[in-house]
Symmetry: C3
């Protein structure tokens, strides 16, 4: 019996009883799914991206999720201000560097966020986290480049470890296998289904779930593992229930599965291998 | 047989034949659901939030819905300009003060809208409408604070009446029981299902339905009751058809039920108690 | 056996193997559906509407879709800059003039886009394309005005031809029958279902599909026909599978059907009549 699986399941129980308020400054493509994913896992979402209130809303929240999927100068300012307020108050910040590497604006925003804000968790695909690591990455839009997916778990772990050490945070790379590390503990999550990449926003939803778990407990490593495993398990269940119907039904079934996830299902279905460095 | 139920059902018939154009200046989290709810009930949605066209679009619409779920300085300006144009032309304005009480920006915007624009209907949860009433409210993000829900129908009615009189409009507080009043007539709607709070935007959709009914008839009280009862009934039907599947399927089933609502279903399922002050 | 049907089916095969990156500068109402439609047909969506990155993202894309469903001054600037970059690099531009005719901002933006950018395809309803043709149009918001729908195929073809010649592009008018022309070839697509107008964004999704096909092959006429036929067929299949449940289920079933569309289904179900001028 794995300690990390037990810890993740317990954290789900805490999340469900605490219902943390999770502030999301995110993109307008997947924002509805993110809000519904946060509700489905048992937390309470709030979205506020104007500089006139981003700081106020952060101050009453239990976690802040910053997602750069659709950026503009107005929201970047809010991300930075909200992030600083979160740091000041000890509120965990989860960062999703969507499409980092794909444009100068995304690259510069990613650099600004990581230099001005202390993040608790950064989650992205191999391209995005490689950009942060300063490694070469083949970025093709916001989806994972296939070369990166193929490069395997060992390369992923190396990149995640480099970022975790550099930023002193939890770094998570999601892909065929998901790698999460805080620089000492390394978890490999084998849950998930490839159909998840056929629906937009499954990465954003994963990050929103990580934010929800971060709002429920102090260990950001466990929170990241729990959020990522929850999404992977939901993807598997959604595929079983609706995969043959098509990606629209599968999309709804993902939210269904998140909403019905409980400690028992998470505990039984999670496939997580934890190692220590 | 209740007169208000009959009036609400008849208004649905009118809405379906008139197909009013409903202008929504709303948030980017739930805007797609609002548009689909407006279409499902039989009206025609249009969303335009730039100062360059908000007034023009209002002028060709039968109702204006203002929702402050995600605010920014650009859209606040458009809300005020559109609202003034609606007042000038006698077009009903429906206002959803999402998260009023949660940030200074939301509070100031709410105050500005209510002081510069004559609204026909204001709809929110107990926290939000209490903020407007100037009473104390425990605001926890955009969802209803539980203390407020527990405070019961009598407290809700008192707050709604205070707001209806202060603003000379229809005030609606949705919760376990929904209270709608124009200061003289008071309707208590017992339809709905608690699972509605597990999907983001069900409040926004309710307001969009109220706007659709306002675009179809002159009595804003009947329109507010009809829109709120329609959403409650849709929630019940959605729960019967899809509640056990999870919140994703339930979400789609809400739109399904709105689209299949007719005068007969509304008449038979509406549980509305009307009293006079 | 129709050559155009064969060409459309073959282009779907190419699209599925090439997975072109499609940049969408679009509205926040239907953006999630557009992204999911692009993924469902087999392409890769990216949305970036800030002037700080719109040009960069266009430069790495295989097609650019510009949709004016919700406009603001910030995004109009990005649309123009991205469109010019696309022209410079020979990347096809697909334009959806949502609500053209309904406000001065939409009219001026439409004029600016068409005078500063060479578009490969313009797709809209009869009102919108008539506005572009400089003909009188009865515009009622963003949905097709019924008078226009009733005006029949001959009038549609005349308007489409006028626009195709004026702009030297492919002009497509969708309605009960869809008319697509490059000025020489004229295709009439009889696929589709009237329930498609009960879901917001089916027009936007159609344009996003056209953009996806444009990213997969050089003949914009074939791409427009393929995208429009794909959406029509998906609507028919969605109606068969979910139409009786309501518009929420139908909505999801549209995405399901797009994701399961293959060359065989497209070939067998497409009802396209091609004529030459």
């Amino acid at each position: 019996m794995s300690d990390i699986i037990k810890a993740a399941a317990e954290l789900l129980g805490q999340l469900r009883s605490n219902k943390p308020l999770v502030h999301n400054i995110t993109n307008y493509v997947t924002v509805n799914d993110c809000a519904n994913a946060v509700l489905a896992i048992g937390a309470s979402p709030i979205m506020a991206d104007d500089i006139g209130e981003a700081v106020d809303i952060t101050a009453i929240s239990s976690a802040l999720v910053i997602n750069i999927g659709t950026l503009n100068h107005r929201t970047v300012e809010s991300m930075l201000a909200a992030g600083k307020k979160a740091n000041e108050l000890g509120i965990p910040v989860v960062f999703d560097p969507v499409g980092a590497g794909a444009s100068r604006l995304r690259n510069e925003t990613t650099r600004a966020i990581l230099s001005e804000i202390k993040v608790s968790v950064v989650r992205g695909n191999m391209s995005e986290i490689s950009f942060i690591a300063g490694l070469n990455a083949n970025t093709k839009g916001v989806d994972a480049a296939e070369e990166d997916i193929a490069s395997g778990d060992a390369a992923q772990a190396a990149v995640a470890l480099a970022v975790a050490e550099k930023l002193e945070c939890v770094a998570a790379i999601t892909g065929a296998t998901d790698i999460i590390t805080d620089g000492k503990r390394i978890a490999a999550v084998s849950n998930g289904h490839k159909m998840l990449s056929d629906v937009t926003g499954t990465g954003c939803m994963t990050t929103a779930l990580v934010g929800s778990f971060c709002g429920a407990g102090r260990d950001a490593f466990v929170a990241a593992v729990a959020g990522i495993a929850a999404m992977g398990i939901a993807g598997e269940i959604a595929f079983e229930n609706a995969g043959s119907k098509g990606t629209g039904s599968f999309h709804m079934a993902i939210i269904d599965a998140i909403s019905r996830l409980d400690e028992k299902i998470l505990f039984e279905r999670a496939r997580i291998n934890e190692t220590y460095r």
